[in-house]
């Protein structure tokens, strides 16, 4: 019961903040929440299950594009568009993960890199359906039960998305499934001897987290009310990886801190050094891996233990 109250409190606090912010700050806030959501699910895949994939942002894009295309190109009803979008993410995820899971090494990294690039090619060349390089714009969130959610209320929807994602991942992490994922990450051979179906665990984790990314993408589609190819490129896939590494892979708190930090740093640094903050990210990542492989949360733990 008390845990339910805590979730409720977090929801009220995070959503309530949106009503105090200006339009511009609301926009920044929404994107921050979306990055945190993505980092959380990516952390489950990379930090907890130990798989490197570069497709997380592509799935975010698949979710965003598919809901827009189903709604406004094919004129399907809203719930159906969402279900089909999720189904599409699951289908693509399975198609990549099942063959990759059979193989050792970094096949998933390569296959997902190819998938991410292929996705961009398809977006650019998709003609009227995807809108080509300019993407799709000038659509609005459909009315649902006679009302259209907007302004800070839409920010509240994103808060629900974030907390829902966190709740799902939290439960998964504290179950036989989460332990199986960690076991597969730490030592797949021993995991198999203990009864863990390694391939199946990898495929499930990949599919689940990819679907979560797709759902986040659907929510994103109505933040800017436009989707276009550059948003879903490789640069952001790398950034997501860097967020998780800098924050502390394998911990929810790490994903949250890393995403918030790397998302907000450019706002501080841009006036000083233009768009070269990416160079700072690169240095930060190398430094984190070399000096503090557990990331910022690990650093915090170490300081708390030996003040």
């Amino acid at each position: 019961m008390s845990s339910l109250l805590r979730w409720l409190g977090a929801a009220l606090l995070l959503a309530g903040a949106a009503f105090l912010l200006s339009d511009y700050h609301n926009d920044v806030y929404r994107k921050l929440l979306l990055w945190v959501t993505l980092a959380l699910s990516y952390n489950f895949l990379f930090g907890i299950c130990g798989q490197i994939a570069f497709s997380h942002f592509a799935f975010y894009g698949i979710g965003a594009y598919s809901v827009v295309i189903f709604l406004f190109q094919f004129h399907l009803p809203f719930p159906l568009a969402i279900l089909l979008g999720i189904a599409l993410c699951i289908l693509f995820a399975l198609a990549v993960a099942i063959p990759s899971a059979r193989l050792e090494g970094f096949y998933l990294a390569l296959a997902t890199l190819a998938l991410a690039q292929l996705f961009i090619v398809v977006l650019n060349e998709g003609g009227a359906v995807t809108g080509g390089p300019g993407g799709l714009a000038n659509y609005k969130l459909p009315e649902f039960l006679g009302t259209r959610i907007r302004g800070p209320w839409y920010t509240a929807v994103i808060v629900l998305l974030l907390l829902g994602t966190l709740a799902v991942l939290w439960r998964l992490d504290r179950s036989w499934f989460g332990r199986a994922c960690r076991a597969v990450r730490d030592n797949p051979e021993v995991a198999a001897a203990m009864g863990v179906d390694v391939a199946r665990t990898k495929v499930t984790a990949f599919t689940l987290t990819s679907a979560l990314a797709g759902i986040a993408g659907m929510v994103y589609a109505f933040v800017d009310n436009t989707v276009n190819p550059p948003i879903f490129g490789l640069d952001n896939a790398f950034l997501l990886l860097f967020m998780v590494i800098v924050g502390g892979a394998g911990r929810h708190a790490g994903a949250i801190i890393g995403a918030a930090l790397l998302f907000l740093v450019p706002f501080v640094l841009s006036p000083l050094i233009g768009h070269h903050h990416v160079l700072v990210f690169g240095v930060l990542v190398v430094a984190a891996i070399l000096l503090q492989p557990r990331g910022l949360v690990g650093l915090y733990d170490a300081i708390r233990r030996h003040p």
Binding site: R179, A183, A192, A193, M194, G195, V196, V198, T204
Partner: protein, 256 residues
């Protein structure tokens, strides 16, 4: 009356390129029995375990568990049927505390599916399993350490964790690969007690051990391997003075 054999191995052979690590090996283990397996370094004992557990693919042969052929099944299926093992070198999952390591051993015993986990309906089972795991940790003698980081365990404690993790899978057959290696005398005595306790629960035990002083009082029967071939088997007292065993052992020890 002796109970039926739960594990039957026949004609088991494994070749690594030109090297025959295990050659036409045959033996059986009954429920509640402790079968000892000894042999000099490189005799093929660990390879035999890897074949039974499905980690290596056998070149030839037959392994029946509870009457069914298990050779060729993937390792996780074999574990699910109730064959659990410890490793010759401690191999804990470094990223989890002791109790979570033990819970991974119980992986195949969880009944709730993924939807139940996401929906929160698996929490009760999780709590129950956690309690059982704590009991197992207590049983092997790591009682104060369920939440310790595995990196902080001593070598001997790591050995005990291997055992608790294997027990958590509720095995009908337990494969121990040199559990006493590297333990102090006192630790060895405690370990012998634990292994006896496990067999007393009706679990079949296959026990690899170098140290005859540890093995012989514990095992009901002993098989001796050398160069992948079973050169003798019988009661511990027969093995102790078996000429082929003395030669294999003393010969190899003299050479080493």
């Amino acid at each position: 009356m002796p109970s039926a054999a739960i594990l039957e191995v026949r004609g088991l052979t494994k070749r690594f390129g030109g090297l025959t690590a295990v050659s036409s090996l045959g033996f059986e283990v009954r429920e509640g029995e402790i079968l000892g397996m000894i042999g000099p370094n490189g005799a093929g004992k660990s390879t035999t375990f890897n074949l039974i557990a499905g980690t290596y693919a056998a070149t030839q042969g037959e392994v029946r568990f509870a009457g069914e052929q298990i050779l060729g099944l993937p390792p996780h299926r074999i574990a699910a049927r109730g064959v659990m093992r410890t490793f010759q070198h401690n191999r804990p999952f470094g990223g989890m505390p002791v109790i979570d390591n033990v819970l991974v051993g119980a992986h195949t015993r969880f009944a709730s599916g993924l939807w139940a986990v996401v929906g929160g309906r698996a929490l009760r089972e999780e709590t129950q399993r956690r309690k059982r795991a704590a009991e197992l940790i207590e049983f092997v003698g790591l009682g104060e350490l369920p939440h310790a980081d595995v990196a902080t365990l001593s070598f001997g404690q790591g050995r005990l964790l291997e055992i608790a993790r294997a027990l958590a899978g509720e095995p009908r057959l337990l494969l121990f690969d040199e559990p006493a290696a590297g333990l102090t005398l006192a630790e060895c005595e405690r370990l012998a007690g634990i292994i006896r306790g496990i067999a007393a629960r009706g679990i079949a035990v296959l026990l690899i051990e170098h140290d005859m002083h540890f093995l012989l009082p514990l095992a009901q029967r002993v098989a001796v391997l050398n160069f992948g071939v079973k050169i003798a088997d019988g009661l511990p007292e027969q093995i102790r003075n078996h000429p082929a065993v003395l030669e294999a052992y003393l010969g190899s020890h003299a050479a080493a």
